[in-house]
């Protein structure tokens, strides 16, 4: 068999077709990928020997060798006669036949179709980050817009939709005293720091303080809750100090955590008070730059005399302040009291034997923990010092601070004896220290007449007032025309309750200390001793200024603490220093109040609103 193989090749993207004719001979023409094949089809999907072409009954017959077969139209066949008009395809080679010419038996036409851009075509993989990631520019836009949306636009939407009171308008907060407003979850994203514990209840209600954008927190916002807060000083008395522009928040800075935004630093006061004369010429106040450095000596309120007013109330006369140069610092309270005898180390003598007393047996702190409870004779002294009138086995308790009452009881007793016509011999004394009179007197045989009763009453009262009961603690005098029925007048006693009325002192916060470490009571022989500690004694523990709480800066600053201790003179009260106490704060507001109630409210308008609101409730 002679066969002309016509190869028609069409290039991709071109209309031109190239023709090539080859003459093949042999009984069988092999088609396939393999190089020994007569018709070489160099495609990977073509089998090594894919098909064979033979002459069969005058037509070319193509028979597939392997399983891959041939494609005729849309069918897969294995054997096909290539009659004219029939074509069959192997991969991209399409075969058809024509009648023989030029001495050949057949013409086999092989059309080579253009290679398709299928998976076989070399695929360029993504090899750089630019291929697989969005561009940095796109990411930048996305991130910026996301941040603006979440952190700015969202919170701003709630900010812009609320209303604020007009500037300068006095408005009270609608927040209840203990009401805690839940934090606004989104606006909290703007918080520059945690609120102090004192303001934690405001929660995330930013508008409570920040009423209008780009405006510093106004006093009105603070006063809407703190309506009755008092001034530091009355502005009328201090015309040279401008308070008109003072803002609460310039001192009380929030969003710094802590307990409260109260400024503890001494500089709050000493910024002005260290050179007060330059701000307020003619001030009587001494300049002060700090408790540790130059706090003036204490000038306690010392009672120099006690008088009884026409209403019976007691009125103290105080040592004028500043103290005169020659002032004797003795308290004339009208009381006789030796602390040393009561605190004697081997105890006081009682009927039950000797008993050691402590400060607490007589002095107790008030319930609020600050000042000491005022001494009450019956409660605090009466346990030992009983007002007992026991002339003969009786035990009549006389009233304290009632001269007329005492006189009446004593007179009644002797009048009764006269009426009874008898008097019992006095019993053996029950309490050596508590008996009446100079000694037991045998009244038996005496004529029980009213004259006797008067005489005896007079004698007993003289003893009670001048020697035994009252005179133990008080000075009493017998006035000829005394206002009292007894003719005796006991000088009133008034103990100073608050030596430093302008300072705050809490005994409770000093309870770890021994009383004697501040009050030299064990050496005090007279009630006139002012048993207040010296400034230096306070400075022993009160050494800590703000800033020194930070150990690093305290170290760097050279330690004010040591200097403070060095300045304090040794205390000669002996044996009083307790265990070394922790350093305590030494700021102005440790003892002094800033907003003083006596100066009136900062904002009368707010205070009035507050009072009105109270009345409504």
């Amino acid at each position: 068999m002679r066969l002309i193989l016509v190869t028609e090749r069409t290039r991709a993207g071109s209309d031109e077709t190239s023709h090539r004719e080859t003459v093949l001979g042999g009984d069988e023409i092999r088609l396939g990928r393999g190089s020994p094949m007569e018709v070489n089809l160099p495609e990977i999907d073509v089998d090594y020997h894919h098909a064979t072409v033979r002459e069969d009954a005058g037509v070319l017959r193509i028979t597939a060798v392997g399983e891959n077969g041939l494609i005729a139209g849309k069918k897969r066949v294995h054997d096909l006669a290539l009659s004219p008009g029939v074509s069959v395809r192997i991969d991209r080679y399409e075969f058809s036949s024509e009648p023989g010419r030029d001495g050949a038996d057949h013409v086999l036409i092989m059309k080579v179709l253009p290679a398709t851009a299928d998976g076989r075509a070399k695929r360029r993989e993504k090899r750089t980050l630019d291929d697989v990631l969005p561009s940095p520019r796109l990411l930048s836009w996305g991130l910026a817009i996301a941040i603006l949306a979440v952190f700015i636009a969202w919170p701003m939407s709630s900010v812009l939709t609320r209303t604020a009171p007009a500037q300068g308008e006095a408005v009270l907060s609608d927040r209840g005293e203990d009401e805690i407003r839940a934090p606004h979850p989104i606006e909290a994203l703007w918080s520059s720091g945690p609120l102090s514990k004192a303001h934690a209840g405001i929660g995330g209600e930013c508008a409570a303080c920040h009423q209008r954008p780009f405006e510093r927190t106004t006093n009105g916002a603070c006063l809407s809750c703190h309506a009755t807060t008092a001034q530091h000083f009355s502005p009328q008395d201090h015309p040279h100090v401008g308070l008109a522009d003072a803002r609460c928040s310039s001192c009380h800075q929030e969003h710094e955590g802590g307990t409260s935004p109260v400024v503890a630093a001494a500089s709050l006061c000493t910024d002005c008070h260290s050179a007060l004369a330059s701000i307020a010429p003619g001030t009587s106040l001494k300049p002060i730059s700090g408790f540790i450095d130059d706090h003036p000596n204490f000038e306690p309120a010392i009672i120099t005399a006690v008088t009884r007013g026409p209403d019976g109330a007691l009125h103290p006369t105080l040592l004028p302040r500043p103290f005169p140069k020659d002032a004797i610092l003795q308290e004339k309270s009208g009381l006789r009291f030796p602390h040393d005898k009561h605190l004697a180390p081997d105890g006081v003598v009682l009927t039950s034997g000797k008993q050691r007393l402590t400060c607490k047996d007589c002095h107790q702190v008030e319930a609020d923990g600050n000042l000491m409870r005022p001494i009450n004779m019956e409660r605090d002294c009466g346990g030992c010092h009983q007002m007992a009138f026991a002339p003969a086995g009786t035990a009549i308790t006389l009233p304290h601070a009632d001269e007329a009452g005492i006189a009446r009881i004593v007179r009644d007793y002797f009048d009764e004896r006269v009426a009874e016509g008898s008097v019992t011999l006095p019993a053996a004394p029950t309490n050596r220290r508590r008996r009446i009179g100079g000694g037991d007197r045998n009244l038996a045989g005496a004529a029980l007449t009213p004259e006797w009763a008067s005489e005896e009453t007079e004698r007993q009262l003289d003893a009670i007032f001048s020697k035994t009961l009252c005179a133990t603690c008080h000075v009493a005098e017998k006035a000829g025309q005394a206002a009292t029925a007894s003719g005796w007048l006991v000088h009133p006693a008034l103990l100073q309750r608050h030596w430093m009325p302008r300072a705050r002192f809490s005994h409770k916060s000093h309870q770890g200390q021994d009383c004697a470490s501040c009050h030299a009571a064990t050496q005090s022989q007279a009630a006139s001793d002012v048993l207040m500690p010296q400034l230096a004694q306070c400075r022993e523990c009160h050494t800590l200024e703000v800033g020194e709480e930070d150990p690093l800066s305290a170290f760097l600053a050279g330690g004010h603490e040591l200097a403070g201790k060095g300045d304090a003179p040794a205390i000669d009260t002996g044996a009083i220093a307790g265990p070394a106490a922790k350093p305590a704060p030494a700021e102005c507001i440790t003892c002094h109040r800033f907003h003083r109630d006596t100066t009136g409210p900062i904002s009368p308008a707010h205070a009035a609103l507050f009072k009105a609101a109270r009345r409504e409730q």
Partner: protein, 288 residues
């Protein structure tokens, strides 16, 4: 390479940055009015302003150093300023805040700053070692350079194309059993692809390597003349070489990717940082 030695050789900016940081630390330690150390004190405010200006200037430098107008010496100094001042920012901004961090936009600003600086540090790390390893990788795989102008990677790409052609042609002389491994190598050998394969550069599942194993197995079973045996030997050689080149190119694109990856963090987060920084400043005065 020369540029990076250059910026490391600059002594001025590291000194300036260290002194600036030390001054800031000293101011932070010594200045604490009322025991407070935060952005509202004089020192805190100053640190904040300085930090913000540095952020903006460094971002501007970052833009400028990508332009070619400036001379290389100036560019080197700018890179040095960018690096050293950028590092000092982490401390300056923390001091500005007084080390107060919480869940707010203010802390977000600092977090973004730290991310920017850390990604920059990673960038420096990448720039210092990667180019040398990258060059060593491809140059070690080069057998013969066809043209001096060709880069090593381009030469390797051409080698791959040549091998693929030879693989396809070799099938004309080999039985059908060799078709699957060759097809596997031709169609399934992937270099790159997704983000993960770019970044890992792993050749663990390389199709050519699998094809090579299959062919080596067939080689033992193959029958035929010396001619076939020689063809199979050539096939094995080609597949082995192709696997080597593919692995080398995978490492190459991995190096290139890691060399640039930090920019995908550094640039967008810098833009986010500037936006957040401006928001932070505005918000502080919005509610003050």
């Amino acid at each position: 390479m020369r540029v990076h030695q250059g910026f490391l050789a600059n002594r001025a900016w590291p000194m300036i940055s260290v002194l600036l940081t030390l001054a800031a630390v000293a101011a932070f330690l010594f200045y604490a009015p009322g025991g407070q150390r935060n952005g509202s004190t004089v020192v805190g405010y100053t640190l904040g302003v300085v930090s913000a200006l540095i952020v903006l200037w460094l971002a501007w430098l970052g833009v400028m150093k990508r332009r070619f107008a400036s001379s290389s010496i100036r560019r080197r100094n700018k890179v040095s300023a960018h690096v050293w001042l950028g590092l000092s920012l982490v401390m300056l901004a923390a001091l500005h805040s007084g080390f107060h961090f919480d869940y707010t936009i203010h802390t977000l600003t600092y977090v973004l700053l730290v991310i920017v600086v850390l990604s920059g540090v990673f960038g420096i790390y990448a720039y210092v070692g990667t180019p040398r390893r990258m060059n060593a990788n491809v140059s070690a795989a080069i057998v013969e350079k066809r043209h001096p102008d060709l880069s090593d990677a381009e030469q390797l790409e051409m080698d791959l194309t040549d091998i693929d052609g030879r693989l396809e042609r070799s099938l004309q002389f080999l039985p059908d059993s060799f078709r699957d491994p060759v097809r596997l190598s031709l169609e399934r050998t992937r270099i790159g692809g997704g983000l993960f394969s770019i970044l890992s550069g792993s050749s663990a599942g390389c199709a050519t390597r699998r094809a090579l194993k299959q062919v080596q197995k067939l080689q033992g079973e193959a029958s035929g003349g010396d001619d076939i045996a020689a063809r199979i030997d050539a096939l094995v050689t080609d597949l082995a070489r192709k696997a080597e080149i593919a692995a080398c190119l995978r490492r190459d694109i991995r190096y290139r990717a890691w060399l640039k990856l930090w920019l995908w963090i550094h640039i967008p987060v810098t833009v986010a940082l500037i936006v957040t920084l401006i928001s932070h400043i505005v918000l502080v005065f919005f509610y003050w």
